[in-house]
């Protein structure tokens, strides 16, 4: 069974990328899959059609529209796919079913699709059942079939699950579509923490205490969020379950307790404290024991972010006058400056892939934009430009995407983009957001 599936993939990908099917069949599956890796010279985006809903009426129709829109949006975000515009489709959704036999594949070939996703939904009471079938348009073969169930309100989550299933089936890699973003939003009384799905949907309040709650950062297992709050007047570091609940004190030193960042092994937290009369970086165990100071400078040292192997920490320091991005070993030794240019570089976030650190810089026109720096070669790349102020980047768990805030439409909203600055998309519909933080893979 497993072998048959793999051969199907090899044959499919062989035809998609114009390889002679004999030689692709001889290749091992991992090699063939590698073609769908972004950055591979043979890579080209996979043109995919997500068929229109058969009906948009009633609870099932409405849920189906949400599921289809979610799947389309997700696949557009993924660098692997080129999602075809449904307005160009010539197939009649009323006449097509979910089986290969009922589909006129020439209609899909003619609009340029290589892959076709068909989705149907049914509702019993409050229960929603969604079926996905995925076809290779060229051969008319069904490549995958998946059924997801949930409550009627779960349509968006179900769409993300289906998109993840498609990504996994075609590339063998884990999709990021069931991840979340934690963010701070201004309220009338203060600043509260929220989470949202990675497409900006399903916004949930995590705190509602009327105080100032800031700087969310996820624990490595995604079950809790570290943040700084003034609930007990002093800006202390807390953790809170990522679904909301009671905050637990993690660090309550006198002065600032900010920027808690959990180490990749989940055993330590790096943070910035001002308890010794100056802002310095420390690390401690996740239970608050074994506090150790890592920096000792007259200037501000803050905003630690761990390398994925846990051996290094990048941070902000103004020890040379202006704030710049520095890196040190995670015991505090071997400090090196990473950014030589600009006068105002802040908010580093180390990619889970390890190769890049994203940060915010102010340019010579006093605009804030997002850049990346390679921690080894110090090569700098600019990701945003001429689109208002763009700040506070945070990488997705696969390192392929970045969430950030942008004021390009006036108010501070949450946006995402690819790691190279392409494919920028707004997630929110109103302003007042700051410091988004992308979760690890959840569940």
């Amino acid at each position: 069974m497993r072998i048959t599936r793999d051969i199907t993939f090899v044959a499919l990908l062989g035809s998609l990328f114009g390889l002679p099917s004999q030689s692709s069949l001889a290749q091992s599956t991992p090699n063939t899959r590698a073609v769908l890796e972004v950055g591979n010279p043979d890579f080209r985006a996979f043109p995919i059609a997500v068929a229109k809903p058969r009906t948009t009426k009633g609870p099932a129709g409405e849920a189906l529209v949400t599921v289809i829109e979610t799947v389309q949006w997700d696949l557009q975000v993924s660098p692997v796919f080129k999602v075809l515009d449904p307005r160009s489709f010539i197939a009649n959704p009323a006449k097509e079913g979910m089986t290969a036999a009922s589909i006129k594949f020439s209609d899909w070939i003619n609009v340029g699709a290589d892959g076709l996703a068909k989705i149907a939904a049914s509702v019993t009471g409050r229960r929603l059942k969604v079926d996905l079938k995925f076809f290779d348009v060229g051969t008319g073969r069904e490549l995958m079939s998946k059924t997801e169930t949930g409550n009627l309100d779960d349509a968006n989550d179900i769409g993300h699950r289906l998109a993840n299933a498609i990504i996994y089936n075609l590339t063998g890699t884990k999709g990021i579509f069931q991840t979340k973003i934690a963010v701070v939003r201004k309220t009338k009384r203060g600043r509260e923490l929220y989470t949202m799905n990675m497409d900006g949907k399903n916004v949930r309040a995590i705190t509602n205490n009327g105080s100032i709650n800031l700087l969310p950062a996820w624990s490595k297992d995604g079950r809790s969020i570290l943040f700084t709050s003034y609930i007990r007047r002093n800006p202390n570091l807390y953790t809170i379950p990522s679904t909301g609940g009671r905050p637990k004190l993690l660090s309550g030193e006198r002065g600032l307790n900010t920027g808690g960042a959990m180490s990749p092994d989940g055993k330590q937290v790096a943070l910035t404290l001002s308890r010794d009369g100056n802002s310095e970086i420390y690390k401690m165990n996740t239970d608050g024991t074994a506090l150790k100071r890592l920096t000792n400078e007259w200037a501000i040292d803050s905003s630690p972010t761990w390398s994925p192997n846990g051996k290094r920490i990048a941070f902000v320091s103004s020890r040379w006058g202006d704030p710049h991005i520095f890196v040190m070993n995670s015991d505090g030794s071997g400090v090196k400056r990473l950014t030589d240019r600009g006068t105002y570089n802040q908010t580093p976030d180390w990619s889970p892939k390890g190769d890049l650190i994203a940060f915010t810089a102010r340019d010579e026109r006093n605009k804030f934009d997002i850049f990346t720096v390679n921690p080894d070669t110090k090569e700098i790349r600019r990701l945003t430009q001429d689109e208002g102020n763009n700040e506070e980047p945070s990488f997705s768990p696969d390192g392929n995407h970045i969430v950030f805030t942008s004021r390009r439409e006036g108010k501070s909203q949450v946006w995402i983009m690819a790691f190279d600055g392409t494919n920028q998309r707004r997630l929110t519909k109103s302003g007042g957001y700051s410091t988004p933080s992308w979760s690890p893979y959840l569940r």
Binding site: R191, T228, L256, W320, Y344, Q346
Partner: protein
């Protein structure tokens, strides 16, 4: 003759443009900034030493002919020396004078009313202290206000002050929390050098989270870069 002048002019022009000349100007400006920040050696030791260290690096680079790098280092050294000076109020390097014992006799009989009078004076004196962009040094125009507050506080009464540090909306949330705290700390330090006991001065930073003015103009930013002094 004319030709040689032209040649010299061209040479100067070329070498000037290419930036490979020894950065004499920058080096001497940095050195004099360090010289005039001598009192910072005691009051802002770490910044001052950083300036000296970078100055030494600048001189070394200049000797090695790394002129562009030397120029950048010299600029940084000058910048740091200036910051060190800004962080060092005049007289901060002098031995603190023996603190006068808290105002004795005349007040003691009617201490209740005097305290009230002092509080009122203090309350009226508590003006907001403003700061330069990305800076935490006390400006000249704020020193009179702070000196007056220190006088009232050390002439009797036992009010405690909370100093709140704030920033404008530019820059990151976290960095601004720390910058705001530096501002509050600078105010406390100044009051302490003027004789106020540090135990009476609490500090807290709100970063950019409690702006006075929600605008994005320079004047709005200036209103937000502040320390507020509150009686507790």
């Amino acid at each position: 003759m004319r030709l040689s002048i032209l040649a010299i002019a061209t040479f100067v022009l070329i070498s000037g443009c290419s930036g490979t000349q020894k950065p004499e100007l920058e080096l001497s400006a940095a050195q004099s900034a360090i010289n005039s920040a001598q009192r910072a050696e005691k009051c802002a030791k770490q910044i001052f030493r950083a300036a000296q260290k970078i100055m030494a690096e600048a001189n070394k680079l200049a000797e090695e002919g790394e002129n562009e790098a030397a120029r950048e280092k010299a600029l940084e050294a000058e910048n740091l020396a200036q910051q060190a000076l800004n962080a060092s109020p005049p007289g901060c390097d002098k031995e603190p004078e023996t603190l006068a014992s808290p105002n004795p006799s005349p007040a003691s009989a009617t201490s209740g009313t005097t305290d009230a009078a002092n509080s009122m004076d203090l309350g009226e004196t508590l003006e907001t202290i403003y700061f330069d962009y990305n800076q935490s040094h006390i400006r000249e125009d704020s020193k009179t206000v702070l000196t007056r507050i220190a006088e009232i506080m050390s002439s009797g009464g036992n009010e405690n002050l909370e100093i709140e540090g704030h920033c404008d909306s530019r820059g990151s949330t976290e960095y601004n929390l720390h910058l705001g705290e530096r501002r509050a700390r600078a105010v406390r330090k100044y009051l302490v050098t003027q004789g106020v006991s540090p135990n009476r001065l609490q500090i807290i930073s709100y970063g950019e989270e409690r702006p006075i003015d929600l605008g994005e103009t320079e004047s709005a930013h200036q209103k937000n870069r502040r320390a507020e002094l509150k009686q507790r």
